[in-house]
Amino acid sequence: MRVPVIIILTIVTAALIGPLLIEWHYDAIDWNAVRAAPLSPHHLMGTDSVGRDLFARTLVGTRITLGIATAAALVALTIGVAWGAVAGWCGGRIDEAMMRIVDALYALPFMFVVILLMVTFGRSIVLVFVGIGAVEWLTMARVVRGQMLVLKDRPFVIAAEAAGATPFAIIIRHMLPNIAGVALAYLLLTIPQVVMIESFLSFLGLGVQEPMTSLGILLKDGADDMDIAPHALILPGAILVMLLVCLTLAGERLRDRMAA
């Protein structure tokens, strides 16, 4: 548990503070050093095909990717918790119908719907995370609903009901705090999913747009240039892989601990 968390914190800190410490702006062009090799003076990781500092771009790209991922995961969390809580609380036919909808949505090719959304509404960053969040809430809804069903028969909930608390107050004050741990675990597991989708979209040119950057765009640029500048592919690739693996490991550990 400790190693993944330390790696995640290191990457997040670097992405937040790093760009402030580097002499280059992510879209500043150094005309004297186009396609500079790594470890050249002034450019730790070299520059890309138009002379932008790769280290600065990677740090900013990581920041954008993480920002979108967090925002999208929060959108997914909100929809998922609301949906699951209502279904679990109401039970019966309403529950049945709401969960059927979730089952049906699970079976759909969602990536294509997101791509359609991107094409339809232009490629703004806001839409990237709202769109992704809107399709990634299904697992969260299932988990929250399951927890609600367990909690509903607990004495403290029945007591609150007998004391005349409104369903809304019971859900918000008494039940959701008990679900928080599990929800956090699944939130952690949603983030790598979202990072993956964002990079996927940006890689295809449908997500974040130049000159803004993200890990997906950097990977795409790196893949285009890999025969002459492999480090431009390896650096963002390594960061993305470390992020995804560590987030997944940490999320799974937390989930197993919460379930036990």
Partner: protein, 306 residues
């Protein structure tokens, strides 16, 4: 069994129609159209083009007409590749995508179940932990990262395999794309097999088999593997969806002329009929795979046959 197939097909058609209508409406409210080029077209020509493709009719009528044609297996003309119908383009791209996805699925099933069995038979040992860590890493790393990295190492540096392209179906061109596409599914299947086996090995029939003195390998394969594969079977639906979406990016990376590339090109060019056709086909394939997964489920677990 037949009853299940019938019931599933009954719900499949409305689902498919709903997806088509949703995609249709989404594509139409998009700003910009297929005839927006570098140069503005003369309004009369534009109106004539719109009329020729039926784009000037009211939206519900267009949807109705499209569904009607779809029921006859006609996906309509492509708006951008003017000399081809969407059916032509699908007929060109689908075999390539199916080969890619099929090979990747088989590879993932073989490697995944194999890895899962090895890990479960050495439960708690170093090899178990190592395999499961590898499985987590494989699941977490998307194919658009492994694809370029594999191409870099095995094609550019080692020079063993071609970097990209289709090479008129030469098998060596398929090796790297298939591996890159299969890896995430391999990790997921290995984890599911390992977890399923752990549950199955704790069952009474396995304890009896052990008490009768059967060899561990025999117990694993004859008694435990079948129930352990049930979660793997139910993963086939999501796996198919994952492979299809993965194929979109893999085909772009390795420049394979499959369906996924037509989809991305179509989306960027606003080639409505092409995008709709591909989405419809993908949705149908995913629904089909979910059905196959259910059938496999019933075959593996007699209690689930209803």
């Amino acid at each position: 069994m037949l009853e299940l197939v019938r019931r599933r097909l009954m719900t499949a058609l409305p689902t498919l129609a709903a997806i088509v209508i949703l995609s249709f409406v989404l594509m139409r409210i998009a700003p910009g159209g297929p005839f927006d080029g570098e140069r503005a077209i003369d309004p009369q020509t534009r109106a004539a083009l719109m009329a020729a493709y039926g784009l000037d009719r009211p939206l519900p009528e267009q949807i109705g007409l499209y569904l009607l044609r779809l029921a006859h297996g006609d996906f309509g003309p492509s708006l951008v590749y003017r000399d081809f119908t969407v059916t032509d383009l699908i007929a060109r791209g689908l075999p390539i995508s199916m080969t890619l996805g099929g090979c990747a699925l088989v590879l993932a099933l073989v490697l995944g179940t194999g890895g899962g069995v090895i890990a479960a038979s050495r439960a708690g040992r170093t090899i178990d932990h190592a395999l499961m860590l590898i499985a987590t890493i494989l699941t977490a790393v998307p194919s658009f990262v492994t694809g370029p990295l594999l191409a870099l190492v095995f094609a550019l540096w080692a020079g063993w395999l071609p970097v990209s392209g289709w090479g008129d179906g030469d098998p060596s061109h398929m090796i790297l794309p298939v591996i890159a596409l299969a890896l995430p599914a391999t990790g997921a299947i290995a984890k599911l097999t390992r977890a399923g086996l752990a549950t199955a090995l704790a069952q009474d029939n396995v304890r009896s088999a052990r008490a009768r003195g059967l060899r561990t390998t025999t117990i694993l394969i004859r008694h435990a593997l079948r129930p352990a594969l049930i979660p793997v079977a139910s993963y086939l639906g999501p796996a198919a969806a994952g492979l299809l979406t993965g194929a979109v990016v893999i085909e772009t990376i390795f420049a394979l002329p499959g369906l996924g590339r037509y989809f991305v090109q179509g989306a960027l060019n606003r080639d409505y009929p092409l995008v709709l056709g591909v989405v419809t086909l993908y949705a149908a394939l995913i629904i089909l795979f979910n059905l196959l997964a259910d059938l496999a489920y019933g075959w593996l677990d007699p209690r689930a046959r209803g």
